[in-house]
């Protein structure tokens, strides 16, 4: 596939995706498409299948039915190209606490085949973007939870991916840090044209204008803009829409 096609292709294309853990279905016929520069909130209660979806996209699990493409590249058959276009921030922190911010980022750069000079240059660009360039020599252990998350975002963007996956990135953060992070991710979308898929169970992380994909028990129940969704269901708030969709049994947090 040529670069021109690559640029025109969808950042993420998931089609008819099903997956089961030891016979127990975790995802059932999920289809989802994300365009370049689009911010999509994947909303669902705990256990809805959000992390499973991310694990399949990053190919941590592989035994599945359906199709996944990143920037037009099939994650299974064109794994190298597809992987090079994904940036990921996982639910669990994945930084080396005993290493400095820069050492962590340099490691990631090397894993993407960058020379150490190239990795440092790119890391610095991303650290400046998240406002942590001054902290590059600090050990990660000494950073706050919010700062660590921003380092992980900087890391996920070093190789200039088409798609940034964030799996409940605000877990354990205070309100101010959460707000900052949500804003930061939106800015990235607008400025860098990165497609963002943001998984959360917190409804207040949805901003006006965001597209919301509601995942519940492995099935995609809605996929439209927040305003369209509330209008379609004839409710006032997204919270009510969510309750209506999932049957009011499992409520996402306001």
């Amino acid at each position: 596939m040529s670069e021109a096609n690559d640029a025109a292709a969808l950042a993420l294309e998931v089609g008819g995706l099903s997956f089961a853990y030891a016979g127990r279905p975790a995802l059932d016929d999920v289809s989802l498409a994300v365009k370049a520069g689009e911010f999509v909130v994947l909303l669902g209660p705990n256990g809805a299948g959000k992390t499973t979806l991310f694990s399949l996209i990053t190919r941590l699990h592989d035994r599945r039915r359906g199709e996944i493409r990143i920037g037009g590249f099939d994650v299974r058959r064109q794994a190298v190209q597809a992987h090079a276009r994904i940036g990921a921030v996982f639910q669990q922190p994945t930084l080396d606490l005993d290493l400095s911010v820069m050492q962590n980022l340099a490691y990631h750069g090397a894993l993407h085949g960058m020379s150490s000079g190239e990795a440092k240059r790119r890391a610095l660009v991303q650290l400046e973007r998240v406002g942590l360039a001054d902290q590059r020599r600090t050990r990660v252990r000494r950073l706050s939870g919010g700062q660590r998350r921003r380092v992980e975002i900087a890391r996920g963007l070093m190789h200039e991916p088409r798609l940034l996956l964030l799996d409940e990135p605000t877990v354990g953060l205070d309100i101010a840090s959460r707000r900052d992070l949500v804003e930061h991710a939106h800015r990235l979308c607008a400025e860098a044209g990165v497609a963002v898929l943001w998984a959360t169970h917190l409804i207040d992380e949805v901003r006006p204008g965001d597209r919301v994909a509601v995942l519940h028990r492995g099935r995609l129940l809605a996929d439209e803009h927040g305003e369209t969704l509330t209008a379609r269901l004839g409710v006032e708030t997204l919270g009510e829409a969510f309750d209506r969709l999932v049957g009011g049994k499992e409520t996402a947090c306001e």
Partner: protein, 266 residues
């Protein structure tokens, strides 16, 4: 794909492993104290009870301490290999394995990088141990220390791949301690690390047969001969073959979703 990116990836994985090793001083100390206790306490005590008659590759009668050093080198690598697989299970739980696996390089290459990295860590440990042994008076020919290096790389891959293979089949971290007991100790004790095979044969023919089949015996003999500037073709051939088979099995069997799946299905 061009070659340089692959080398950068290797450099990154090895560099991180060495950095982590430097930061974990207690792990280094433990890795060093274990063989030193064997050397200073166990071997010194046995010296009286057990002399080792002239045996290949040694040119003269040797003290028991001299005999046991190559076995202890193997032990350092065995522990390191298992510990690094344990850390891979741990990494997998903690998520930093995910960072490794989202790299666009093929999975087999990432695992080989990881194994080489842990092998190099064990090589550092071995040479520090040998330096202390040298100061204590156990000195091999100078060139022996150089010939030892390839032998250490082979042994490192052998035990590392074995550990990786085991970690693919162990779902939970808790089970690993048990496997350490069922793998490390039998491999070490039922080998030529502590006693020469002919000595074991005098004691028990069955144990002798098991020890002769134990790949760790051949790794230790490969190390022993290399240290004394000799090439033991049989030991090298067996060690290389076993390492290669284990490596292939480990790569084929490695399933990164194990361990994670059992716990969380979200």
């Amino acid at each position: 794909m061009r070659v340089m990116p692959w080398l950068h990836c290797l450099r990154g994985v090895v560099g991180r492993e060495l950095l982590r090793f430097l930061h974990q001083r207690s792990r280094f100390l433990a890795a060093l104290v274990r063989p030193l206790v064997w050397l200073f306490v166990f071997a010194a005590g046995f010296r009286m009870a057990l002399g080792v008659a002239m045996t290949e590759p040694y040119q003269t009668y040797i003290l028991y301490e001299v005999y046991i050093v190559p076995g202890l080198v193997g032990m350092i690598q065995l522990f390191n290999g298992m510990q690094s697989s344990l850390s891979m299970v741990y990494d997998r739980e903690m998520g930093s394995m995910r960072v490794l696996l989202v790299s666009p390089f093929p999975r087999w290459y990432l695992l080989v990088c990881k194994l080489l990295a842990s092998t190099l860590v064990s090589v550092v440990q071995v040479y520090v141990f040998l330096a202390i042994a040298w100061a204590y008076g156990i000195q091999a020919p100078a060139m022996g220390y150089l010939y030892l290096l390839p032998a250490l790389l082979i042994t490192g891959f052998l035990v590392g791949a074995l550990g990786l293979l085991l970690s693919s089949f162990i779902r939970q971290l808790e089970n690993f301690a048990g496997v350490m007991n069922f793998v490390i100790f039998p491999m070490f004790f039922l080998s030529s690390a502590l006693y020469p095979l002919w000595r074991i044969r005098e004691g028990s023919y069955l144990v002798y047969q098991i020890a002769a089949l134990n790949p760790f015996t051949h790794a230790v003999e490969m190390i022993r001969f290399a240290m004394y500037e000799r090439f033991n073709a049989e030991a090298v051939a067996i060690s290389v073959a076993v390492a290669a088979v284990l490596l292939v099995l480990a790569i084929v069997g490695y399933n990164p979703s194990r361990g994670m799946m059992a716990r969380k299905g979200s």
